[in-house]
């Protein structure tokens, strides 16, 4: 749906706002270094995220891919400081050069929703059922701009709803979340999260609860917003199709660790890590014969309480040397030419024979 031009006296709210002079414009917006998140479970500590390192550059979309429990959501929660207080977070998260780990609630609050915003997976659950959609969007603006006038606020809410492609935004703003359809709720969520023009938008499975048509529309809205506000997006998903469509770079996670980072073409055409290869091999392809069976990754993802020694993926890996390096030594993420990084001992050896070998 096309954005409707508003010729009312709406303040030009969606302009790029001035950037802090000390914000380190040139470098990446977000630098995560050796992030480690542990939760106490009974007597032991469970490591949900282990040594995760990555950057998000300005105006970039980074796709974070992994199955349930691979630590992708925990990573995003750690960035916003939203983990429960029992979680132990180590490592470093630099946002525009500022360390986020160890910041107090009071120091994080001005950042949340203002500089780093989040789009949640289940928009129905993430919208408060007792407030009108417009009021909730207004709320997310008011949290950070206390002195905004009612008229400006209202105008801005309507414009935001319009930007995310909600028809008749003025009337829709007065409805409750349960009166919205699934796709519209997700758009309203996005409108809330971009209300303050954040530098970084973390979208945690924004399309998982939606059907494919609506998925495409929501992703299109995300892209349009990125063009308009030059924000960076961290797109967390388990859907490789979504990543292929919108991400610039991809980070693949398995059992709390990063197994591959590369730009989106490299990941799809030359996956280096056997897990990535397995994921791609398990995608249905239009050019495959209909009686071909889909490749699969044998076994189950490991329990975080009892991770296998060595490479966490080795029990399921068709290339693993067992017993040998793969079952004894944890592989580190390393550079494999043209910016592609993978954490696999045998990355060079298996490079030549990607998908077929995974069966």
């Amino acid at each position: 749906m096309t954005a409707v031009p508003h010729d009312q006296s709406v303040p030009a709210v969606l302009e790029m706002e001035e950037i802090d002079p000390d914000s380190g414009l040139s470098g990446p917006i977000l630098q995560v270094r050796d992030l480690r998140v542990q939760f106490p479970i009974e007597d032991t500590m469970v490591t949900a995220v282990d040594g995760v390192t990555f950057d998000v550059d300005a105006n970039e979309t980074l796709g974070i891919v992994g199955e349930s429990g691979s630590g992708k959501s925990v990573t995003s929660m750690a960035i916003l400081g939203l983990l429960p207080t029992t979680a132990q977070v180590n490592g470093s998260i630099l946002f525009r050069g500022r360390e986020l780990i160890g910041l107090k609630e009071k120091e994080l609050q001005p950042l949340r929703g203002r500089r780093i915003a989040m789009v949640f997976q289940d928009a129905l659950a993430a919208l408060n059922p007792v407030h009108r959609v417009g009021a909730q969007i207004a709320e997310s603006i008011k949290v950070h701009a206390h002195d905004i006038s009612k008229t400006d606020l209202r105008a801005r809410v309507v414009e935001l709803l319009d930007v995310v492609g909600i028809p008749d935004p003025a009337a829709r703003a007065d409805q409750f979340p349960h009166e919205f359809s699934g796709g519209m709720r997700q758009r309203a969520m996005i409108a809330m999260s971009i209300a303050n023009e954040p530098d970084l938008l973390i979208a945690d499975e924004p399309t998982t609860a939606l059907d494919v048509t609506i998925q495409a529309q929501v992703l299109e809205v995300l892209e349009r917003i990125q063009d308009r506000t030059s924000s960076s997006i961290m797109l967390i998903t388990h859907d490789l199709g979504v990543v292929a469509g919108v991400a610039d770079r991809v980070l693949v996670m398995y059992a709390g660790r990063v197994c591959e980072v590369a730009d989106v073409e490299s990941v799809f055409y030359e996956p280096r890590h056997p897990y990535t290869q397995g994921l791609l091999g398990s995608l249905p392809r239009l050019d495959a014969r209909s009686d071909d069976r889909l490749a699969r990754i044998v076994g189950q993802p490991p329990s975080l309480i009892a991770l296998p020694a060595g490479c966490a993926f080795h029990p399921r890996c068709p290339h693993a040397l067992v017993p040998g390096r793969c079952s004894q030594e944890q592989p580190q993420l390393r550079l494999l030419g043209d910016g592609q990084q993978a954490a696999c001992h045998r990355a060079e050896e298996i490079e030549a024979k990607p998908l077929e070998a995974a069966e």
């Binding site: 949340r112 989040m118 949640f120 659950a125 919208l127 028809p167 529309q217």
Partner: protein, 330 residues
Amino acid sequence: MTTLGPHDRSGPATVQGSGFGHGAEAGGAEIDNELAAELEGVPLASTEPPARSQWELFRRRFFHHRLAAVGLGLLVLLYVAVFTASLWVPQNPRAQDVLAGTSAPSAEHWFGTDQLGRDFFARVIYAGQISLKIGLAVAMISTAVGTITGSLAGYFGRWIDQLLMRLTDLFLIVPGIAVLAIALKKFGSADTVIILVLAASFWMQVARVVRGQVLAVKEKEFIEAARAAGASNTRIITRHVLPNCIGPIVVNATLAVAGAIVAESTLSFLGFGVQKPQTSWGNLLFDAKSNLQFDEHLLYFPGLFILLTVLCVNFVGDGLRDALDPQSRR
């Protein structure tokens, strides 16, 4: 698409209603995916004008609840009647006619007269001033205290929860009436003392109910979303948590009104509550007990008023609970 200003609420609403209607009927295959997506799941929104004011919706839902509407009407009538008694009740509630003594209800004395020949209708109406005042004040104070305690305990958890809930337990385990009686003997039985003492014995239920609700609500994703949007704890509690607990809070508040009126009656009946020359419905009951065999009407009328008030308040509570839920579709 509409060019109406954002503040014109009715305008866009009707545009939307008819526009969507046409699309669905005539458009058929023409509807593009997006419009179809918008249509799906929102039929109600497009058939009825959606942009009502909060107050309008609330009122509509409330008055849809017949008993609540009747209850509210009676209650308002009762409060107005009781507190304007000096303007319209011809008899003086203190004027005695000792020689006449007790008499049954008659045209002259609607509710009869009591042992001292006082007009019992006037007595009951004036006594309502105390009872209704105590009921309302106790409900407000205990609801406020209970809501604050319960929401702090539930939201922050850990030692704050432990501290506040053990305090609540402490108040709960003491035998209410006995402590109330002692407290009233000690501090005197002025209205404010009675109100505070009763409130002190009514806030615990509210606190527990609110705590339970808050525990459930604070795990909802929209709370996390609010945190992710940078909202402070105060804002999250007041804007996001408590509005989602309003139903039980309101119901408990109405129960407290009823409970306080009954408790005050009990205390007064036992002789610890409102002291003469002031009278409450409880006092009237107390006075009636001496000659129950002959003058039953002295028991029935105050009892009837207590019953009526409590019932009305509870119906209003029901109506409020329904009306405050934005998802109710009535």
